[in-house]
């Protein structure tokens, strides 16, 4: 409320050691074990690769979305964290590393890449104008290029504003965020459909993109919260950042935890109710051979537990509780992606029931390594606060 222009004292500081200390070993172990996994069991490895890709896209592309969301909504409270989100968006640039092995192994993963199958299957044949290798690659490249373009525009404008303090930049950002929202909505739907839904090419669910988006938002927010908390305790951020700001982060994670359940249940209930074989066959493998326990656990892990962790007002502000909830939400998203992808591995490989072993772990290690190292690369020697943003003073004064 008190708008007496305060002088913001911000001094640049080295990033916390943890990013490289944990990031590099994880990345190295990840790369080596992933290469081994591809030698050892290419099919299982490529399915896990999809999980890793979906998780990294959530973290990176979700962060670009958070930046755009702030611009388009004219949000104030989140200004001090926008630079962190912008750097986090940089992680999206790692996605080709994960997508290229998938594209080389498409034949192992996607039934619709088998010409003989498609020609003898009227449904796949009708879908082939969309589901074919060339268009698939074109879509992935298109989404990547567009999102990267926006990311760099946001980053450039934002760093420029650090010195110019120009109100105009804020306006331009809001303006370009409107088309971004359209591209983002289409882009994330395409990624969800291409990489996750087309694993079962006969199946369709119009809500699938939103389902993935709900998890994406919560995950991007959770990673943002974790980075914020660690930067804050290392002294990289301003001292004015306090529990009021954390509350909003916790609130958004809480909201999208509930939103995910809403979407997941809407999808499930409609299919359960109509009970027609074209749709139910996607859920059936998830209800047998041990998957039924994982399906029930999904409700617990991705909804009930984080919901309980964040329900209380205080727990949305308490840094250690937030840290726990953030880690939990990221883990739950990985679990959710595993639940989306792996039943198709069962089908394609002729195995039964959920599998878990070093191959799964190696891809999780790789994703974690990528997230830490790419954040480090993006944020090294940069300002962590958009010190030139005209809204910053108001943002620091934020009360819930």
């Amino acid at each position: 409320m008190s708008n007496h222009e305060k002088k913001i004292e911000y001094t640049k500081k080295e990033l916390p050691k943890g990013f490289l200390k944990y990031g590099l070993p994880l990345l190295l172990i990840g790369i080596i074990s992933v290469v081994l996994a591809y030698q050892f069991d290419p099919m299982r490895a490529s399915f896990n690769n999809i999980i890793a890709l979906l998780v990294v896209v959530s973290v990176g592309m979700g962060a670009i979305f958070l930046v755009a969301l702030e611009h388009i909504a004219g949000a104030v409270w989140s200004v001090p964290f926008r630079r962190i989100a912008e750097h986090q968006g940089f992680i999206f640039l790692a996605t080709p590393l994960l997508a290229i092995p998938i594209i080389f192994n498409m034949h192992d993963i996607f039934e619709w890449t088998h010409n003989s199958v498609v020609l003898n299957d009227p449904i796949l044949y009708q879908k082939s104008p969309y589901l074919n290798t060339e268009f698939f690659i074109a879509r992935s490249v298109g989404v990547f290029v567009l999102m990267t373009f926006f990311l760099f525009v946001y980053l450039r404008n934002s760093t420029k504003q650090d010195t110019t303090h120009s109100q105009k930049t804020t306006k331009i950002n809001a303006l370009i965020s409107a088309p971004f929202m359209v591209f983002f909505a289409i882009g994330i739907t395409l990624i969800a459909i291409d990489y996750a839904m087309s694993l079962e090419p006969h199946w369709f669910s119009t809500i699938f993109g939103v389902y993935y988006f709900a998890g994406t938002f919560a995950t991007a927010m959770a990673v943002l919260t974790l980075i914020t908390l660690s930067l804050k305790s290392n002294g990289n951020l301003l001292k004015e950042i306090n529990r009021n700001h954390y509350y909003s982060m916790g609130g958004l994670m809480f909201a999208f935890t509930a939103f995910w359940m809403y979407m997941a249940f809407s999808q499930y209930m409609l299919i359960w109710y109509a009970n027609i074989p074209e749709e139910t066959f996607w859920f059936l493998p998830r209800m047998e051979n041990g998957w039924e326990y994982l399906s029930i656990a999904l409700i617990l892990i991705k909804f009930i537990i984080p919901f309980g962790l964040l329900l209380n007002r205080n727990s949305k502000m308490n840094p250690s509780r937030l840290k726990l909830a953030s880690f939990w939400i990221i883990g739950a998203h990985i679990y959710d992606m595993y639940w989306l992808v792996m039943p198709s591995y069962n089908r394609m490989s002729g195995t039964e029931g959920p599998v878990f072993g070093w191959i799964e772990l190696s891809f999780i290690a790789l994703s974690a390594g990528i997230i830490l190292v790419f954040y480090y690369l993006a944020a090294r020697n940069k300002n962590h606060i958009p010190i030139g943003d005209p809204k910053l003073n108001r943002a620091l004064d934020f009360h819930i």
Binding site: M1, S2, N244, F265, Y268, M269, W272, Y273, N275, L311, N312, R313, N314, F398, H399, I400
Partner: protein
């Protein structure tokens, strides 16, 4: 008799009121409140309020009502009127989830407000000393106020007035209230209140009645109802008997059915009909399944006439009588198709092949319960 309720001070800006609230809290006052025209962010921090417990009540209320609703639906679907709907299980949990969700939200919100009305406003009482004061007028339009109650243990009229002025209040008032008025105990059965309730109930009922019985039958709401075609159960002005559904033309044969030639003629059936199916394992298995479904409730699982209906219906007689044994297959087939006296016919529900299979099964039963020497080998 008028009595001092509080000292109320008015401020011009939200910044002033934040500052004043913090100072009042620091000075150790406990019975005071802040009134603002809109929520001022950070006020609970400035007033050093502990976080409200209301949320716990809300979730407790919501979860309780949710459980009650779940139990109610369970009672309806499983105890009071068990009925399979849409091929779903008797306790279709996913179908209940949206209702449970809505009930939790609705009761949580509505009952929280109701609880607050009762506990904080002492409903049905509604008198508050601040009502009708210039102070309340000001804070409900564009001013920000703070008032310290006389009941506070630190209260001292002159000190409080000086203190509030020193915080920058542009106006400090003493608020008095009429003890008699404030202590009037309104009762739930107050005539005015009851009358008001009746009025509301009457108005609601009337408008619901008019909606459901009149408005819904006016265009455009009746567009789904009024259709330019004959629907089932319609009255007909066209046909003489006034019924718009027509009987099939005499001699019509439905697809997949064979006309039965021996209605009312058991002897004809017995003489002329020959069982076209061989009693092999598959055929008897089919007959057994159909017999257990359609016949066993009256005739018993083994056809001994020991019905499960226990006399609630004329018990089906045994099919092991010499009479039935001496019948030809065609005769039994006839009884299954057309019924016999009170026994209903099954030609509409059981296909021809299944009826013959039942005949074979009845024969099997007859032979099994009265096995001859050579059957044992």
């Amino acid at each position: 008799m008028s009595k001092l309720y509080s000292v109320a001070a008015l401020f011009n800006t939200p910044d002033d009121i934040m500052h004043a609230a913090a100072k009042v809290a620091d000075a150790g006052y406990e019975k005071y409140d802040v009134n603002t025209p809109y929520p001022v962010h950070g006020m609970d921090g400035a007033m050093k309020l502990k976080s409200s417990k209301m949320g716990y009540y809300t979730i407790a209320i919501g979860l309780t009502c949710m459980s009650l609703m779940l139990f109610f639906m369970y009672w309806v679907y499983n105890i009071d009127y068990p009925q399979v709907i849409g091929g779903k299980p008797l306790f279709p949990l996913p179908a209940f989830v949206p209702i449970m969700f809505e009930i939790t939200v609705l009761t949580g919100a509505v009952l929280t407000v109701a609880v607050m009305l009762i506990f904080y406003f002492k409903f049905p009482n509604n008198a508050h000393p601040l009502h009708d004061s210039g102070y309340m007028k000001a804070v409900s339009s564009d001013k920000f106020g703070i008032n310290i109650e006389a009941e506070d243990s630190n209260f001292d009229l002159d000190k409080v007035k000086a203190f509030l002025s020193s915080l920058g209040a542009y106006k400090v008032d003493e608020i008095y209230f009429d003890e008699e008025e404030a202590n009037t105990k309104h009762k739930i059965l107050d005539t005015k209140f009851v009358f008001g309730m009746f009025l509301i109930a009457g108005f609601t009922s009337l408008s619901v009645y008019l909606h459901m019985n009149k408005v819904l039958y006016m265009p455009p709401f009746d567009w789904m109802l009024v259709q330019h075609k004959v629907t089932s159960q319609d009255k007909s002005d066209f046909f003489n008997n006034g019924i718009s559904s027509r009987e099939p033309v005499k001699g019509t044969v439905a697809r997949g059915f064979m006309p039965y030639l021996f209605t009312d003629d058991p002897e004809g059936a017995a003489e002329n009909l020959v069982n076209p199916y061989v009693a092999d394992e598959e055929n008897i298995a089919l007959g057994k399944r159909k017999y257990l479904t359609y016949c066993s409730p009256c005739h018993g699982d083994l056809g001994k006439g020991d019905s499960r209906l226990k006399g609630q219906f004329p018990n089906g007689p045994t099919v092991h009588s010499d009479k039935v044994k001496s019948w030809t297959d065609g005769h039994i087939y006839h009884v299954i198709s057309e019924g016999q006296n009170v026994m209903p016919g099954y030609k509409k529900t059981v296909t021809r092949k299944e009826r013959w299979a039942i005949v074979n099964y009845v024969r099997t039963l007859q032979r099994a319960l009265d096995a001859k020497e050579e059957d044992m080998q």
